[in-house]
Symmetry: D2
Subunit: 142 residues, 4 copies
Amino acid sequence: MPPTGAQVKETTFRVRYAETDLMGIVHHASYVIYLEEARVDFTRQIGAPYLDLEAEGYSLAVSELHIRYKAPARFDQQIIVRTWLEEVQSRAVTFSYEVVEPQTQTLLATAQARLICVDRSGSVRRIPETWLNIMKPLEVTS
Amino acid sequence: MPPTGAQVKETTFRVRYAETDLMGIVHHASYVIYLEEARVDFTRQIGAPYLDLEAEGYSLAVSELHIRYKAPARFDQQIIVRTWLEEVQSRAVTFSYEVVEPQTQTLLATAQARLICVDRSGSVRRIPETWLNIMKPLEVTS
Amino acid sequence: MPPTGAQVKETTFRVRYAETDLMGIVHHASYVIYLEEARVDFTRQIGAPYLDLEAEGYSLAVSELHIRYKAPARFDQQIIVRTWLEEVQSRAVTFSYEVVEPQTQTLLATAQARLICVDRSGSVRRIPETWLNIMKPLEVTS
Amino acid sequence: MPPTGAQVKETTFRVRYAETDLMGIVHHASYVIYLEEARVDFTRQIGAPYLDLEAEGYSLAVSELHIRYKAPARFDQQIIVRTWLEEVQSRAVTFSYEVVEPQTQTLLATAQARLICVDRSGSVRRIPETWLNIMKPLEVTS
């Protein structure tokens, strides 16, 4: 569960057929795409769109990813990803996630992703102030 | 079947689990990746590696793709893609493919892909002479 | 353009980061997933959800796919896929598509996909009447 | 580095174009596919092919995945994944991985994946003895 006080944004979408595998359920790699989709949507919802960061010459490159799979997801079902900022540093940011089935609120997965700010050449850089100013206050501080 | 006289190169690999879907077979989008893998390997085999073309500032962008699916492929089986050059023009090139199961030689799919040469800005450009000189003589001429 | 009288359904979504490639644009295989997404959404919109067909033991397996790429799509942009039924036969159905950028209405791609009805064992089967009755009247009849 | 005494198997392949993203490097989700490819190949190399496990009605479902990304990988480069068994339990198995660039031996990523044995219905099951007997002695025991 998101910690008290965390500003949680929700992203909802449906499972695509191509995201399933022969086990009949969503392939575990598809969740990595879901988390990315939720992260990009999170930045849009807080008013600091990831697209603008890229336009300024920066990228957030995933440096660490940790997913715990709890229950299978299936074709065509709706998925909610709840996203919040676990930690914001000058050069890195950590997102936490809950992946949930909306009808029954079944927890499908939990995850954390740490991303570092890099420029076009791949060098680690300070996250631009505009983004830090928007993201810092959203960080979990408990 | 490749036309008489076509210089056919073969690329062999195994089906990955993630490339299957809940129908229990390889998802039809995975073949697009297989064709690309075979195309890149073809350019390596003829001594005009696609990577070098990219290094010179050019890309071959797919402008048309036509796939006919004949029989399903399954997890972990080997796949052979037979690739040849159907047509070479100054700004575009058309590859033809046969996707085959090696043990029984079952035809899994046939395909054609037309690619146009573009530069970094996306403008259509003439394919560099080095590539044309290597690819032109390999074109199907019947 | 969809022919006069065609019942066209629209599906809208955003390009995911993972769907791009090092050319900086959407990879051509991603469109295959977009067409599938649109096709599944089409069946939902006409009241004959593909999920229900699967639940009854049938699948629609892609037997032929033809895509013409017209203009590149980019990360985070919105995509509209317009989908209509080109031909409905007792064992096969052909969808036509236009992929469009909504702001400028730029045509990104056109496509056709032919699907055949199969059962769990992969044998070709007649499309269940319920689906035929809903899809037949939507077919392009010009 | 794999711990002393670990039985490490290597799997080598090339980066596919579709596995890159607009950052110009391999997308982080592609590593999940690489780990799966290496895992399946590992089981083949030790003589307990994953395909046979599926044929007996079992699957190994990923329950936890942890990846640390160290350096970017690029289109067409060769990738080596070194795989070993960290822990073997009656119903679960943990693989460890190193992803390496072969020329310079640059470490691209390290990872762990825990998988649980399930049957067709998704219920947790004991790993069949044949597999346990082959895998148990390969487990890291330091």
